[in-house]
Subunit: 216 residues, 2 copies
DNA sequence: TTGAAAGCGTTACCAA
DNA sequence: TTGGTAACGCTTTCAA
């Protein structure tokens, strides 16, 4: 049976309030009691119940992570890496990540991710391009969003972006320096800001070099 | 502000007990009240609080998912697919998946995944080969495990396996039928049951065909 | 520095 | 068929 804060309190001979304070590392607890309680906690292998804690603190301790299924299944595990990185950081902050994929052709009638419906997350990370309808509907729910590698005109949210324009310039410049004359551009979904930015950088570099440009 | 079961009860003119019964679709509620309550629920955009629910029901509504980081980051998104599939099914059952990766060289001193420490999951899925130390330590905590594409001698748990031996036979047979004479075998970690099984199938097929075998 | 007790939003039991 | 209420495990005032 999992031990509760009561068990700890009883065994340590203090009140549950004290135990709670020790757990939150409150400074108005004497070093002595703190030490004592801590020892009992360890001996009982006690961990606070997340649900009880969440219930009173009105937090969920979860962060939602949304990407489209095709992004996630890409052979190039770019988004998988971002997901993993998020998980690492979340762990540090004592958060869990709830991942869900949505169809890239998400439509108005598709249901919202469950964690937004039942408010199981304190905030949401959106990685890569997702349908705008979805974003709007989440925004309606007043859940904070952070974008990674995607930008939307809604200037609602923090965005973590790559300098794709500069990347495009650098890549193209490199080829120009090698004295290549016919430099093409292969991109994916041109509607994705990252791709169009790279194309942009590519064009800028070419213009600067006054070369012909060819687009594949 | 998120509405609670109390708000629903008040607006519907019933007790919270009744609302709770309606939510769990209990049959001893008259169709009439049920309809009424359901309408209020919708109008209030009410969703039960997960933490409150978990607290009393002593469930977490979460399933842990463990794999090693290198498995997850593989270019071939095999395990990513398994993860996604699990997520789909979990969704159906109103569960969330908590994913965590562990280092493939997990050692005794590394911490257990947080969700096992604080018991944030009702059960765990382990995909692919993970260190045995880890498995043992989870088992100690009496958390149910299901293995996917990995088997351990501990016959503690359900296991979902691929018939790799037969797969190895099929592949080798195919090449034999094409009259190839020098058939090699390229595998990954030979300690992974899946790989050694395939090698096994390969050998069996060769023996049956009385060919020389070569191993790369 | 510590403790008592209210309250968080549910579920489940027992009455009505 | 419905309602009252204890209980879940914790945090957080307010007192002591």
């Amino acid at each position: 049976m999992k031990s509760t804060i009561k068990d700890v309190a009883k065994k340590a001979g203090v009140s549950i309030a004290t135990v709670s304070l020790v757990i939150s590392d409150n400074d108005r607890i004497s070093t002595e009691t703190k030490k004592k309680v801590l020892k009992v906690i360890k001996s009982l292998n006690y961990y606070p119940s997340r649900s009880a804690r969440d219930l009173v603190s009105k937090k969920t301790g979860n962060i939602g992570f949304i990407l489209t299924d095709d992004h996630f299944l890409r052979t190039e595990p770019f988004y998988t890496r971002i997901f993993l990185g998020s998980e690492f950081e979340a762990r540090d902050g004592n958060y869990y990540i709830l991942l869900t994929t949505v169809r890239s052709n998400y439509s108005k009638n598709d249901p919202l991710p469950r964690f937004v419906l039942d408010r199981s997350v304190d905030g949401i990370i959106i990685a890569g391009k997702v349908p705008n309808t979805l974003i709007d509907r989440i925004l309606e729910q007043k859940i904070p969003i952070v974008f990674v590698d995607y930008t939307t005109n809604a200037n609602c949210c923090s965005q973590i972006l790559i300098d794709n324009i500069h990347g495009g310039i650098l890549a193209t410049d490199h080829l120009i320096e090698l004295e290549h004359k016919n430099i093409g551009f292969i991109g994916g979904d041109i509607n994705h800001p990252s791709i169009s930015d790279r194309l942009n950088g590519y064009k800028q570099a070419l213009e600067k070099a006054e070369l012909n440009q060819k687009r594949i």
